[in-house]
């Protein structure tokens, strides 16, 4: 198992009921698998970063990674 800190941003907090949690996932879990486990509409446009960097499709996470999931902001 690996520990991943999931940071939710903006109204996604209200959908999930938390803003930040460290959760356990099986080793080699992908970003998509983590997103699928969250109560967030998969069709909703969002931006996901891993340790502050953009993630590629199918990217596998490592123990201690920080995943930030945000609606797509546009700078007001």
């Amino acid at each position: 198992m690996i520990k991943i800190t999931v940071k939710l941003i903006g109204p996604l907090i209200n959908l999930a009921g938390y803003s930040e949690k460290t959760l356990e996932f099986p080793a080699e879990t992908t970003v998509e698998e983590i997103l699928a486990s969250l109560p967030i509409d998969p069709l909703r446009p969002k931006i996901v970063t891993r340790n502050g960097q953009a993630v590629a499709p199918g990217e596998k996470l490592k123990d201690g990674d920080r995943l930030a999931i945000s609606p797509i902001y546009s700078g007001g």
């Binding site: 109204p11 209200n14 931006i47 609606p71 546009s74 700078g75 007001g76």
Partner: protein, 612 residues
């Protein structure tokens, strides 16, 4: 003519006279309204080199053809003048009931020229213009000023006012309206103050000229409801713009410590979640169903309406991570009528300059109480420090010396909004090419850079994205005059705005027709700058040098060891100029200007520099 009233009210404050002037369909279709109308007026009527704070400058208040018409987010008005902060073209927009009343009074724009001999305010009701002494409110903040005028005229009127900042010619003074709406970052409030014009009150009773009034009414009201529903479904208003603070902190784009740092462990203390929890009221502009203003109450009992820029510049950039204190600082800026962005950047620069040993002073990062005192001194130009701070960061740096200009966080004299581009090349370009100085309103591409592009790319795709957004945000939304939020934040399709425009004007424009107007306005804004600064070169389109300084790189985090690279930035700037049809100096070529129907303007600008 439908859509436009075709009338401009010109008020001369020196001799207290006014006249109503007209314009025709050709002018209307060429410049449309808002930013376009204001720019063309200033270009035609201002002599280059005039003192922006003298009687020769003109204050333009301009609306657009869909402004005030019930439809998504049409409550905005543009305010413009030659900027006392930058010396170039300056404008901004704000939500206000004045929008609807300007149109209902029968005007597309108001022009204020000259200078009153003593403080006054002007009351406009349809064709009637009255001048009243403002001694009772001169020296008061914008909140008291609004209360005073609402008591006299009722809350339904449109009020635009300045605070002590504008009265005392603070160069980043703004114009205020409603509970916390403000516009005119490049010192347009100081221009109003220089004319001794404390406030404009306006009330109109005429119908807004609409080609298809019944069709527009049905469409507009229906779309207002739909935008409101999307807002509810997405939950955007829960944190509004302030949600972006946490994201900037994650991706190392947050302004911290005069933008020397890009993230901070205490950022959560002032984030959108905390702000939403502290909310006591929600405010918005007229004709808005996705209100963005989250008001909190500070420890002194003041309501303070916050958005991300306020929290980023008056909070994290000053190392202040107490929401209550950020609220107090924001309230003071609103009351004094100061731009929160420039005020925050200027205070951060002052603290940084002290820390660097460039100047002696008592202010330190994180000192909210001292920041409050300094805001008051800057607004009133009290003492040496107050006078220095009232000048903005670029003039301060040139006074202080010691190479401090490198870390004055501004472009062309206008301070940078709350996005730290130490390693975000495309957004640095967006700030650097913004036509009024560093503002996020014309183009914002950070999520594009992080998600759909390579963050470290300086390629043509980033220049293209900046231009695409400038055409929409800095063009379309500024000349039809509407808030960009339904489109930019909720995905409300742009086609709707063409539909509103066509229903109001009776024309049949496509979005491509708008882009040509956008490009024309951008070219003329550049000509305005070049006429003021004939030695224009591309270095004026550079972001602050500290973003290129390897010693300023983050020591840890997502962008550790990285900063912008100047040679690559120049390549990016070349992409931008090439795509715009501008030369290596950043000036539209003759061919480009001719293709935008700027024949007269070419003749004028060539008195100052030769076009390629």
């Amino acid at each position: 003519m439908k859509g436009w009233t075709g009338h401009i009210l010109r008020i001369n404050l020196t001799n207290r006279t006014h006249k109503i002037e007209t314009f025709g369909q050709e002018f209307a279709e060429k410049w449309v309204g808002g930013r376009g109308l204001a720019l063309k007026t200033l270009w035609d009527e201002l002599r280059p080199g005039i003192d922006p704070l003298g009687p020769e400058n003109k204050l333009i208040i301009a609306v657009g053809p869909i402004a005030g018409v019930p439809a998504p987010n049409t409550g905005k008005t543009v305010v413009a003048a030659k900027s006392p902060l930058t010396g170039g073209f300056g404008d901004g927009n704000l939500g206000t009931r004045a929008t609807e009343h300007i149109r209902k009074s029968g005007y597309d724009a108001l022009i204020f020229e000259g200078q009153a001999d003593k403080p006054i305010y002007v009351y406009i009701e349809d064709d009637k213009v009255q001048y009243f002494p403002a001694e009772d409110i001169w020296g008061k903040g914008t909140y008291d000023t609004h209360d005073y005028l609402y008591k006299r005229y009722g809350k339904g009127v449109g009020v635009l006012s300045i605070g002590q900042g504008g009265e005392n010619l603070n160069r980043y003074a703004m114009i205020r309206s409603l509970e916390g709406r403000a516009g005119g970052r490049p010192g347009i409030g100081a221009v109003m103050g220089s004319k001794k014009l404390k406030a404009i009150v306006i009330k109109g009773s005429k119908p807004i000229p609409v080609a298809d009034p019944e069709g527009m009414r049905k469409l507009g009201l229906d779309d207002l409801r739909k935008v409101g529903e999307i807002n509810k479904q997405t939950g955007w208003s829960i944190q509004s713009t302030t949600g972006v603070l946490s994201w900037c902190n994650e991706v190392a784009a947050l302004p911290v410590h005069n933008m020397r740092q890009t993230h901070h462990p205490d950022a959560w203390k002032i984030d959108g979640e905390r702000l939403n929890n502290a909310r006591v009221a929600t405010y918005g502009c007229p004709n808005c169903t996705m209100r963005c203003g989250i008001a909190i109450r500070d420890h002194e009992g003041h309501e303070s309406e916050l958005d991300y820029e306020n929290v980023g510049l008056l909070g994290s950039d000053l190392d202040i991570f107490e929401l209550d204190q950020v609220g107090s600082l924001n309230y003071l800026c609103d009351d004094y009528g100061l731009d929160t962005i420039s005020a925050g950047d200027t205070l951060a620069f002052y603290a940084d300059a002290i820390e660097q040993g460039a100047i002696k002073g008592d202010f330190r990062f994180g000192d909210a109480e001292m920041a409050k005192k300094l805001l008051g001194q800057a607004a009133r130009r009290e003492g040496e420090v107050g006078n220095l701070l009232a000048e903005g960061s670029l003039r301060m740096a040139r006074t202080i010396g010691h190479n401090s200009e490198a870390y004055a966080m501004q472009v062309k004299g206008l301070e940078i909004s709350a996005y730290n581009c130490k390693f975000i090349p495309g957004m640095a370009l967006a700030f650097a090419t913004c036509p009024i100085g560093a503002h996020h309103k014309d183009s914002w591409i950070i999520t594009f850079e992080i998600k759909q592009s390579q963050r470290d790319s300086y390629g043509p795709e980033k220049a293209a994205k900046v231009i695409e957004l400038q055409r929409i945000r800095g063009g379309l939304f500024e000349f039809i005059v509407a808030c960009r939020f339904p489109w930019i934040e909720l995905g409300w399709p742009l086609d709707h705005y063409a539909e509103y425009f066509n229903k109001v004007t009776g024309l049949n424009w496509s979005l491509d027709d708008f882009w040509k107007v956008s490009d024309r306005i951008y070219a003329l804004m550049k000509f305005f700058w070049v006429r003021e600064f004939p030695d224009w070169d591309r270095t004026r389109d550079y972001p602050p040098m500290v973003w290129f300084d390897p010693s300023n790189a983050d020591k840890e985090g997502p962008i550790a060891g990285k900063v912008l690279e100047l040679d690559k930035y120049n390549q990016l700037l070349d992409h931008y100029y090439n795509q715009r049809g501008w030369d290596k100096r950043g000036i539209p070529t003759r061919q480009t200007a001719e293709s935008l129907d700027l024949k007269d303007e070419i003749a004028e600008v060539e008195k100052y520099t030769k076009l390629e």
